[in-house]
Symmetry: C2
Subunit: 191 residues, 2 copies
């Protein structure tokens, strides 16, 4: 894929910078990822990063554009919501976790206020609506969505970032069943 460096036109360079930035920010978080390292990964000069993206903050904003692509709750059997959502995220991480913007945000949100704020926005815009679709009361739906977030972000953290052995080694099917049951209860169970 990256074996033969293509002729360096502007668009190709921009795209390559963004790809390298996503990987670096995901691996190291906002603070520790350096423009120099990103440029080295992209095989270009550090000053080019500045030229195209202005500064480090704007590069981060361009690199982190999270679309969870959560399936529509209306199209899923109500009693399969939990398993479906967990399976959705595990499948998403199966490929290249270092290129997942959600993991990038999760990692950086621990120490960066801007990243934390962005992660809260993702939650409000993309997760909360799922709870609202299965719960008519807005206040109760907000709590349900929050509980789902504690379990899903905790799973992402332990499996993909902390790499806690029993969680990192578990098969996706196993996690879909057990964590899915928790998410299901948070969404549709008695509160």
């Amino acid at each position: 894929m990256t074996s033969t460096p293509p002729p360096r036109r502007s668009d190709a360079t921009r795209a390559e910078i963004l790809r390298a930035a996503r990987a670096r920010f995901a691996a190291d978080g906002y603070q520790r990822a350096t423009i120099r390292a990103i440029a080295a990964d992209a095989g270009i000069d550090p000053s080019m990063v500045m030229r195209y993206y202005g500064n480090k903050t704007q590069l981060f904003a361009a690199a982190v554009d999270v679309h969870l692509h959560l399936p529509d709750a209306a199209g899923i059997p109500r009693d399969k919501l939990g398993e479906t959502l967990v399976a959705h995220f595990l499948k998403r991480w199966e490929g290249d976790p270092t290129d997942d913007a959600l993991l990038t945000l999760l990692r950086s949100a621990a120490t960066d206020d801007d990243a934390a704020s962005r992660l809260r926005e993702i939650f409000a815009a993309q997760v909360a609506p799922v709870a609202l679709a299965v719960c008519p009361d807005p206040a109760e739906a907000a709590l349900r969505a929050g509980l789902v977030a504690t379990q899903m972000l905790g799973l992402a953290f332990c499996r993909q970032i902390l790499r806690l052995p029993p969680v990192a080694a578990a098969t996706p099917d196993l996690l879909v069943v057990h964590v899915g049951a928790t998410v299901q209860r948070y969404l549709t169970g008695r509160l």
Copy 2:
């Protein structure tokens, strides 16, 4: 042995440095917390931090000494384990979250390998035994402990670090009931 107390005139300064270091590391994580800022918080010169703790890594190790003080599983009714553990952590964070070593580690583990390794050790030494106490099969107990970790670390992250509104605003009692039910199922439910 660390029990022998050699009284020095500098004990007060050492303690003040450690207190400031804990707060700074907890608030900013290992990378972003600077020795200069810690020294400023402690009201002393930055060089004193180096004199007493050698370097930044050793200062971090001294500041982060996590004892979860989890209650003995043998002394708790088996069906109250989940609620008891969740209540234990929430109570722990009720006071000054910026002085909690677990939150410090959690924040730093997202971007620092040493902190992540230490957090895995904490898990193995202090959380895994609880699962082993209620589950005879070691492999199954490891999985149960791992599932508990996903939920408890996710709760800590969403409530104390990310400060996700519905989770941060929830009363401890509410979280004890709902998150406690999840932890209970992970520990003693059918797998």
